[in-house]
């Protein structure tokens, strides 16, 4: 096998405006990281800045690799790559069981790799292949089983690490791709129903109303009586069992689950971060306090300010105007990529674009939502802006995947 079988260097087809905007965002990130690692009263710490530069270079390499991979190669080797990814996810898990390191990272001495990051690409490629092959059977409920299995394997492994944020990203990527594949909305509704049932089960009135709504939707959409009744009764069973399981588990376990769903319940931990983050954002005002003038960040009130809470630093120093510009660029990129998915030459290409876009969108929304206190603190960084070489490689890699889908 030769190099050309894997790669095609089609740089003329690269989308220049995407690259420009991504680099603008990265530049913003460098500025924000310089500021976040600049503490009043101590020497300016350029270490983070240069490490981020290095991360950007690695990110660009990653982008080029994923952009250049041949789609024929991806289609042929999707399953192999996916299984390698699963294997890598299991390795650190086993290592941690026998007492070597944490379950998230594989330590290779000079650098560490985080398999759950690379799994994002592999999952997207695998799902893109599956969703583009099984075109004809989207009217069949069973269409979902195979892709669902492909999701649940890595999602389950990541969830028990435990990494709720990444699990969520996988689920979002899967859901968006499933939706784009043309799967019947009614089936998607049925897939979501048990989760809503669980939540509704804690209040008898809400449960009753939800039950009626569920029955109505099932009645209007399906003629297969056994399937319909089975679906409905299954949901009722979930609804009845949920409060029972909730009451059986120990209070500290309940607390752990609640804290996982909403870390603000832990006031000295994540709650503190969210409060300080909101103070930083709110005190920024319209114009912000100016570069290096943020008091919240420079006086060290913000935890994780150069990684997960980088957006608070930006908000504090550049204000509503700065935030609006950045959010606009993100939004513009997302819409532009979804437009590429429409004009892509094949379903597989479109699915690669949709998967990559979904992953980046999920990261942006989860991070910013956490920063402003709308979503739980899951510890997900912000693409292109947060500090961290590993995540920069993921982000640029996802862009590479998107641009690859866009090229012929």
């Amino acid at each position: 096998m030769r190099f050309k079988d894997f790669f095609s260097l089609k740089f003329s087809q690269i989308d220049i405006s995407t690259l420009v905007l991504v680099f603008i965002l990265s530049a913003f990130g460098l500025v924000a990281i310089y500021s976040a690692s600049y503490f009043v009263g101590s020497e300016s710490n350029m270490q983070y800045f240069w490490k981020q530069m290095l991360g950007l270079v690695s990110g660009v390499l990653m982008l080029i690799i994923l952009f250049s991979l041949r789609k024929s190669f991806l289609l042929s080797y999707a399953e192999v790559l996916y299984l390698i990814g699963i294997g890598l996810l299991i390795i650190p898990f086993i290592l941690s069981l026998i007492g070597f390191g944490t379950s998230r990272w594989i330590n290779l001495g000079i650098f560490q790799i985080q398999p759950s990051e690379y799994m994002k690409f592999l999952l997207i490629i695998m799902l893109a292949k599956v969703f583009s092959e099984n075109r004809r059977s989207t009217d069949n409920f069973g269409y979902v089983f195979y892709p669902l299995l492909i999701l649940l394997l890595p999602a389950g492994l990541v969830f028990i690490q435990p990494d709720l944020g990444t699990t969520l990203i996988y689920i979002v990527v899967f859901s968006v791709m499933l939706f784009a594949s043309g799967y019947r909305l009614y089936y998607i509704f049925l897939l979501l129903a048990p989760f809503i049932t669980m939540l509704a089960a804690f209040n008898s009135w809400v449960f009753l109303i939800w039950g009626l709504l569920l029955a109505l939707v099932i009645f209007l959409n399906n003629k297969n009586v056994i399937f319909s009744v089975g679906m409905f009764l299954g949901n009722v069973l979930v609804g009845v069992l949920t409060p029972y399981f909730w009451s059986v588990i120990k209070p500290y376990q309940q607390q752990r689950i609640l804290t996982m769903l909403n870390p603000r319940l832990d006031p000295m931990g994540a709650g503190y971060q969210v409060i300080q983050s909101q103070i930083a954002i709110g005190s920024g005002g319209l114009h912000g306090k100016g570069f290096l003038q943020g008091t919240q960040s420079h006086l060290n009130f913000l935890p994780e300010q150069h990684t997960d809470f980088i957006f608070s630093v930006v908000s504090e120093e550049f204000g509503f105007i700065g935030i609006s510009v950045i959010l606009f660029i993100y939004c513009f990129l997302i819409i532009r990529w979804l437009g590429m998915a429409r004009t892509a030459k094949s379903t597989f290409s479109a699915m690669l674009i949709i998967g990559g876009t979904a992953a980046l969108l999920a990261h942006i929304l989860i991070n910013v939502g956490m920063t402003v206190g709308l979503l739980p603190v899951t510890g997900k960084p912000l693409p292109f802006i947060s500090y961290g070489g590993s995540f920069l490689m993921t982000s640029f890699g996802l862009v590479g995947l998107v641009l690859n889908g866009n090229a012929e």
Binding site: F39, V40, G41, S132, R135, V176, F179, A180, S181, G182, Q276, Q278, I279, A280, I281, G282, S283, G284, G285, L286, T295, Q296, L299, N300, F301, S315, G319, F320, I323, S324, L327, Y330, C331, I334, I335, L338, G339, A341, R342, T343, A344, K345, S346, T347, F348, S349, A350, M351, I354, L361, L365, V368, G369, V372, L374
Partner: protein, 590 residues
């Protein structure tokens, strides 16, 4: 055969995804708008609160000057060794190092910290007023002494010559049992406040207003640098100008040194007190430098009770200085005239009891009776007069009420009247014999030295009642102006000039004739008037009194001297009074 790839993605579904994405971005933008524009003010103030740590800057306490602007009380720099309880708990080895440097056992340093500690994060004083050597030693090794620090804190210093702590007062950290009194006025635990005397009386003027220094801090409260982010300077306390003359005060203290008692010299025209002594006094400096238990015991358990201000709180039988009341009452009610004579045989019998006089005076008129201090003359007067008229004039001359002097804790004494006697002995259980004791200032009569000097002033001015006071002027730091407080000046009416004149001539003879009881007080040329008193008391030797005044032009000064167990007024009290007036006379001229 490779199939021509096709894109089967439904464009409406893509449109739906795009719409949802845009909507989600809109939600984020709205949230940012809410936080950054609508709620901006709230978060801005929270961020300010986050970054700033406020420390107090204590206000320099107001200075106190004497009437000529000589410093009586001032502030001198002092350095205290303080520790931060939370830090030193993490570095217990600091204790031993500090103990070695100061030469004081660890246990007693820790004991001091416990006493002055106000929470884990505020500095607690472990050693006050450390000397230069210890100060330098600690500062040089400050990096090896985590949790310790030397803090600058000025202390009060009192003019060395003056030991009248019971008049000037002293300052000390608020005692725990008093804190509830001060808390509402904005004091903090550990603040110094005035205790006793002027320091307590004028605490509100002297204390000034605390300032604040705001420093930028990081999330754990550690200051970033030494620069103040913002500083609100403290307002120094007002400066007080007292009526006291420090030279005369020192002289008066010396004159009284040997005795327990009190001496006051007052301007009878306006009530300004030039010298006020309650003997023995104590050195107020003792308290300011942090009293040890032993020092406190030596002051508080001294048998001579120096903490007790005899001038305003000592209530003693008045003795013969009280006799002028009966004289005034008798003349005013027409019971006697200046010519009325009574015979003194040395003993007066009433109801089977004998009431004595000091001598056998023979026939005496009013003038002679005052000058000789004849008891029997006044027994006759009160028996003619009746107790109620006498009581009326007793009250009129200001006994049984506070003089209103600007010192804390003044007591009113007892001016017995019908109601009092009924309460004391029961209705009809007292009789004329009781009156005989009262008329010569014995029995239930109790007065304070400050009342005695006011009494002298009333007699000197023929009925003007000044308010004795120590504060002459306040120099307000806020307006930078001198303000002279006004004191009430009352006039007693209903006493004729002739009556006053008769009393005066009696008091003149008491001092200036060679047969008066108060002749030991006389200073030729000062034109002194006066009256001695020798008050019997159940505790031992008689107390000695002298009240008097000068009628010299431009020398309007009254004096009262009281000596506990001083035997006779003419023996101890009168000479002191004379010396005091004389001293003041020459000081004033120089």
């Amino acid at each position: 055969m490779f199939k021509e790839p096709q894109n089967h993605i439904n464009k409406y579904r893509l449109l739906a995804i795009s719409t949802v994405a845009v909507l989600l971005f809109c939600i984020l933008i709205i949230r940012f708008f809410d936080l950054q524009i609508i709620q901006h003010a709230v978060f801005k103030s929270q961020a300010m609160g986050n970054m700033l740590n406020r420390t107090d800057i204590s206000a320099p306490r107001g200075l106190v000057y004497d009437r000529d602007g000589r410093k009586l009380i001032y502030n001198i720099p002092s350095y205290n060794l303080v520790v931060y309880p939370d830090l030193i708990r993490q570095h217990p080895e600091t204790w031993q190092k500090l103990a070695n440097m100061c030469g004081i056992p660890v246990a007693s340093l820790q004991e001091n910290m416990k006493r002055s500690q106000i929470g884990a994060y505020r500095p607690a004083v472990v050693l006050r007023n450390i000397n230069f050597k210890i100060n330098t030693c600690i500062n040089e090794n400050i990096l090896d002494l985590p949790g310790a620090e030397v803090a600058f804190d000025p202390v009060r210093e009192y003019l060395n010559e003056i030991k009248s702590g019971n008049i000037l007062g002293y300052t000390a950290p608020i005692r725990p049992q008093d804190y509830y009194l001060y808390r509402q006025q904005g004091y903090k635990p550990g603040d110094f406040v005035g205790y006793d005397g002027i320091e307590k009386q004028y605490e509100h003027l002297l204390k000034g207003e605390r300032g604040y220094r705001y420093k930028q801090v990081n999330a754990v409260g550690k200051p970033l640098n030494d620069q103040a982010y913002e500083q609100i300077n403290p307002k120094p306390g007002d400066a007080l100008y007292l009526t006291i003359d420090s030279r005369l005060q020192a002289e008066a203290e010396v004159l009284m040194q040997k005795y327990n008692g009190a001496a006051v010299l007052m301007n009878y025209e306006n009530g300004e007190i030039l010298a006020a002594v309650s003997s023995p006094g104590y050195d107020p400096d003792l308290f300011n430098e942090g009293l040890t238990q032993a020092q406190w015991d030596s002051v508080s358990q001294d048998k001579r009770i120096p903490l007790f201000n005899r001038m305003i709180r000592g209530q003693y039988p008045a003795g013969s200085i009280y006799k002028m009341i009966a004289a005034i009452a008798g003349l005013e009610k027409g019971v006697i005239t200046p010519e009325t004579q009574y015979e003194c045989t040395g003993i007066y019998a009433l109801g089977g009891r004998e009431y004595r006089c000091s001598h056998v005076h023979g026939m005496e008129n009013l003038n002679e009776a005052i000058a000789h201090s004849c008891n029997i003359y006044f027994y006759n007067v009160i028996l003619e007069l009746g107790v109620d008229d006498w009581c009326y004039f007793q009250k009129k001359l200001g006994f049984g009420e506070l003089t209103g002097i600007d010192l804390p804790g003044e007591l009113p004494g007892i001016a017995p009247d019908r109601d009092f006697l009924d309460r004391q002995y029961g209705r009809r259980k007292w009789w004329k014999g009781t009156w005989l004791n009262m008329v010569i200032g014995q029995g239930d009569v109790l007065i304070t030295p400050i009342q005695a000097v006011r009494y002298a002033a009333i007699l000197a001015t023929r009925g003007k009642v000044p308010t004795p006071h120590l504060l002459r002027a306040v120099h307000s730091t806020e307006t930078n102006s001198l303000e002279y407080p006004e004191y009430p000046l009352r006039k007693i009416d209903g006493i004729s000039d002739n009556t006053w004149k008769e009393i005066e001539s009696g008091m003149l003879n008491a001092v200036q004739s060679n047969w008066g009881t108060g002749r030991t007080a006389n200073v030729p040329g000062l034109n002194l008037f006066g009256k001695t008193g020798t008050a019997q008391n159940p505790h031992g030797e008689a107390h000695a009194w002298f009240v008097g005044y000068s009628k010299l032009k431009d020398f309007p000064y009254a004096v009262a001297v009281f000596v506990e167990h001083g035997m006779g007024g003419s023996d101890t009290a009168a000479p002191i009074a004379g010396k005091l007036l004389k001293a003041w006379y020459y000081m004033r001229r120089s």
